[in-house]
Amino acid sequence: MTSQLDRLAGIALLAFSIGTLYAASQLRPAPTGYPVGSSTFPTILGWLLAGLSVWLIMRKARAVESRSRLLSWRAAVGFGLTILYIVSFRQIGFLVCTFALLVAYAALLQKDRLRLIDTALVPLVSTLAVFGLLRILNVPLPRALLL
């Protein structure tokens, strides 16, 4: 029996390939006298992916090694905070936002008790180090509410 997850992946990939073929069909066709256009390569790849997806859905079961977890609640929180970081650091400021994100990461990576060195000191030093690096590289940082 094919692994249920592989079958689901095959269905998702098939949907992706159909979407790709549709998006490719909307691209400019080949100019007159040209055998290839902007849609040729994506279309070939779309059909190839569709074929592979169908094969993934239909094929016999394979021995599956241990699968990793997708996301625990901690990683999901970390992920959400990273998105919040991307959205907010232009408004709030690089230093404060980066420090806050690293503190959150460090806290999410500790289970029993929060160590001061992990949760505060290393994020602070890391933030200052990358801030210094970006200044040396002359990378413009957003002028925001807090630095």
Partner: protein, 500 residues
């Protein structure tokens, strides 16, 4: 010619130039070791500063940055399993497993020896065969480039434990690589995101698939007080060079990797990324212990690193002989020639041969600086890998975010990296390999351009790929690589059936 090279070497060994070379290698290595930063970025930032330098010193520092940039990525690839640069992705396959076995110092030692040998062989080929090799590069037209990319893709896919999943990952990578403006000037699948108009950026993809995936996986698989790598009990903390006898026994692997790197390096548009993947795959095919690849075997480090570090010689050939950059770094370096009022191409050979020989000598001499850089680099990076995850992961995240932000001074590259992190997490959950995805992303543009240009040349006749000997050779090799695993499995089944 030999006299000219010796004179140039003595110029490079003058204190100010030696200091410039050391600084260049160090800067390149540091930028390359930090995920998200590249030696090309370092060169772009420092190029204006070379204006006030004498031309020889300027080129010494630039070449040093190039070499250091190719070398430095292996430090984090080996110790943390996070490639500092795309060219070091293949090094993670065996470098990191070797580190996890408690042989991190030896893994860095093997990688350093391979880098020195690869760089030296390619420098010698550059010195004595630049013009001849440039002619070979010119004979590489669109059909040959297309066939080479097909071969590279097939070679990586065929290494996957599950061929179908490897192929899916490769095709998804190729599809992601179609994002951005194409050969005909059409904007494709960029959805108005400025950073994607020029194509799907590679660095955010690498950082997302390796560094950010590690961040979120660490949070998912949390164990109290766990160190990042289970190597605390091992004493292998510094670079340890392998015995000379062992190095000599690997001469075939070293030579194959170096020649592959030099060859791929001089093809315009190709670079260390493709060279290291190809060398790894070819070595696995040649190896009697192919099943040890991926578990921490020295051959799996030697092949990609010798190829990766052999690319400078190769990529400098079309740059200085024809004015066609072999990769991103040499494209920026062309600016250095302009700043110093130097022409590229035949005029450079005729009117400024002194600079040519300084470049040759530097390309040769810089390799020996990898020893001290590797020694000190391992002293910094190896202890990092032994930190608790709650200490190390925020450091990785901080530098990754800063590196991604520095590419365009906008957070959009961090967003792209997050998308790739999701792809990486899903791929890990479903046992899809990420190496074909990365290579697909790298090769997509080259493959499409090669295919389109070839079909325009042939009026739409696909037989063009079989009518030219070099492209036919690559197509045959690709078919052989694709069918070999099935053939071997079939023969094993037959043998087992006979025995049982």
């Amino acid at each position: 010619m030999l006299d000219a090279i010796i004179t140039a070497a003595s110029t490079v060994l003058q204190p100010e130039n030696l200091l410039a070379l050391t600084s260049g290698v160090l800067i390149g290595a540091i930028f390359s070791a930090i995920p998200g930063l590249t030696s090309t970025l370092a060169l772009a930032l420092l190029l204006p500063l070379t204006y006030s330098m004498p031309a020889d010193t300027a080129f010494v520092i630039m070449i040093g940055m190039m070499g250091g940039g190719l070398y430095g990525g292996l430090l984090t690839a080996t110790t943390l399993g996070i490639p500092g640069a795309p060219g070091s992705v293949a090094t993670t396959f065996d470098g990191h497993p070797m580190f996890r076995k408690g042989q991190g110092g030896l893994a860095i030692g093997w990688a350093t020896v391979a880098s020195i040998v690869g760089g030296t062989i390619s420098a010698i080929l550059l010195m004595f065969g630049a013009i001849q090799l440039a002619r070979v590069a010119l004979s590489f037209g669109p059909p040959e480039m297309f066939a080479l990319t097909i071969f590279g893709m097939v070679a990586v896919v065929s290494l996957s434990n599950d061929l179908t999943k490897g192929a899916v990952a490769g095709v998804v990578g190729l599809l992601l690589g179609t994002v951005g403006i194409d050969l005909l000037g059409t904007y494709r699948f960029d959805y108005g995101i400025r950073e994607m108009i020029g194509g799907m950026p590679l660095l955010p993809a690498v950082v997302g698939l390796f560094a950010l995936v590690k961040v979120f996986q660490s949070m998912s698989n949390l164990q109290p007080g766990r160190v990042t790598n289970e190597t605390q009990e091992f004493g292998d903390t510094r670079m340890r060079l392998p015995p000379l006898r062992d190095v000599l026994s690997k001469w075939k692997t070293l030579l194959r990797g170096s020649l592959i790197g030099t060859f791929i390096g001089f093809l315009p548009g190709a670079g260390g990324n493709i060279a290291s993947f190809t060398a790894y795959n070819v070595e696995k095919r040649f190896s009697k212990n192919a099943n040890e690849f991926g578990t921490g075997t020295p051959d799996g480090i030697i092949a990609p690193e010798s190829a990766n570090n052999a690319t400078p010689g190769g990529s400098l050939i079309p740059t200085i002989t024809l004015g066609i950059p072999g990769d991103q770094f040499t494209a920026v370096m062309l600016g250095g020639f302009i700043i110093h009022g130097l022409p590229v191409g035949p005029l450079l050979f005729r009117d400024h041969s002194d600079i040519i020989y300084v470049i040759f000598a530097t390309t040769f001499l810089m390799n020996f600086l990898f020893l001290p850089v590797g020694w000190f680099g391992s002293m910094v990076v190896v202890p990092l890998a032994r930190l608790r995850e709650s200490l190390l992961i925020p450091i990785i995240a901080a530098f990754s975010m800063a590196g991604l932000y520095s590419i365009a001074a906008t957070p959009s590259n961090i967003s792209i990296a997050m998308i790739f992190a999701v792809i990486g997490l899903v791929a890990a959950r479903l046992d899809f390999p990420v190496a074909p995805l990365i290579l697909g992303l790298i090769l997509s543009r080259l493959m499409e351009d090669g295919m389109s240009q070839s079909l325009i040349l042939s009026g739409g006749d696909w037989m063009i790929f079989l009518q030219r000997p070099i492209s036919l050779g690559f197509v045959v090799l690709a078919i052989a690589f694709l069918t070999a695993p099935t053939f071997i499995a079939w023969r094993t089944r037959i043998a087992k059936a006979k025995a049982g």
